[in-house]
Symmetry: C3
């Protein structure tokens, strides 16, 4: 329960499952566990009621870099919410391995790392420099579902 205590101490709360618009079918698993690894689907930023959190649109025209950083932090919380529901206990994550950070941005935007740091910083703050260490890419996408500014997928090792 250490990770959840840490989240609580930071004033952060895990969101419920994503509430996508009714007409959208998402026939996949948000976390898929096999062979000591959990494959985490692409997640977006959520409000506390589970809906997709704004601001929506592209960085930096519609969403500032600082807002993008906050969105990436919300994406980390969304992934942690899915991991909690799948694993029962976030302390079962023994190592973060891969974070693939996708930024919905204009063709001339080149500061994707500053956005995806919102996710990396939270994971490192929660899990520490050993368990929290992760490989990462932070790249620019033409567009993302629901016009989200950030989507992130991950692979973690579990006990």
């Amino acid at each position: 329960m250490d990770i959840e205590i840490a989240l609580d101490n930071m004033g952060l709360r895990l969101p419920p499952p994503i509430k996508a618009p009714a007409e959208v079918k998402l026939p996949f698993s948000f976390v898929r566990v096999q062979g000591g690894l959990a494959y985490v689907s692409g997640h977006g930023p959520q409000n506390r009621d589970g809906t997709i959190a704004g601001p929506l649109g592209k960085v930096p025209a519609d969403v500032s870099i600082e807002q993008g950083y906050q969105a990436a932090k919300l994406v980390a919380l969304s992934m942690l919410g899915s991991l909690k529901r799948e694993l029962g206990d976030l302390d079962r994550v023994s190592a973060w391995l891969r974070i693939f950070g996708m930024v919905n941005c204009a063709p001339d935007f080149a500061q994707q790392p500053a956005v995806i740091n919102g996710c990396s910083d939270l994971i490192l703050a929660l899990y520490g420099p050993d368990r929290g260490a992760h490989s990462r890419s932070a790249v620019g996408m033409s567009s993302l579902p629901f016009n989200m500014p950030v989507e992130i997928e991950a692979i973690v090792a579990i006990d």
Copy 2:
């Protein structure tokens, strides 16, 4: 042979290896097996003769969402064709783990899930809700090789 019987019952046929334009060199493996996992390269939609299947271009300007859905289904068949050649028997796939769905689309397109569902729906229909369950991202790319509307890569567990 259960999966191939199921494919046959659906009237679906696995395509032969991709026939890319002669000047294009593809010096990689379509499936790479190691440690109980098969890493599946990015695949595109194929015709029954192995050539790249149209319609080509961007969703939704050149390729409708419904056509994109059908293209994603063809991509699933292309991946299954490669897995069959590599593994000998599609029943050796014990679990689908990760599907990374890339849609060639305009910067304002936000319905990538509706396109990539063409792949997810077929995998779930063939492998069922346990073996077929998979993590997934469905995202928008600036462009794709050969101007394909959809490209998908995957990781699966094998017996």
Copy 3:
């Protein structure tokens, strides 16, 4: 030491750790090792002094396909440099498994494979057709950090 001897025979040298602009924070691991796999972060082309190598920009407007091919080769060297620092010996890489090649390009560019071949060709030349074989995607991104023309991430098996 065979791989490093081969690099030397090719007149190639591994770059030092990336020297990113001072204001950019990169709080992740360039290589993350767990369970016999090394997850390699997204890397870019480097100069011999560790700085990001030009030409920068989009393929083919700012960077020709041939220059993109050379950039992808430099990315392979950058990944090898990170693997050498993490593993101590590049011969510990027993199999290349997945290469995800991202090209910073215009929406109508469709020759991503010709660019990413710069990476695949070097890996195959160094590691040979068995250890060097890899699954691959080569796709078009809206934009990349630092306006790099190519970024590549990978997964390799290690002894």
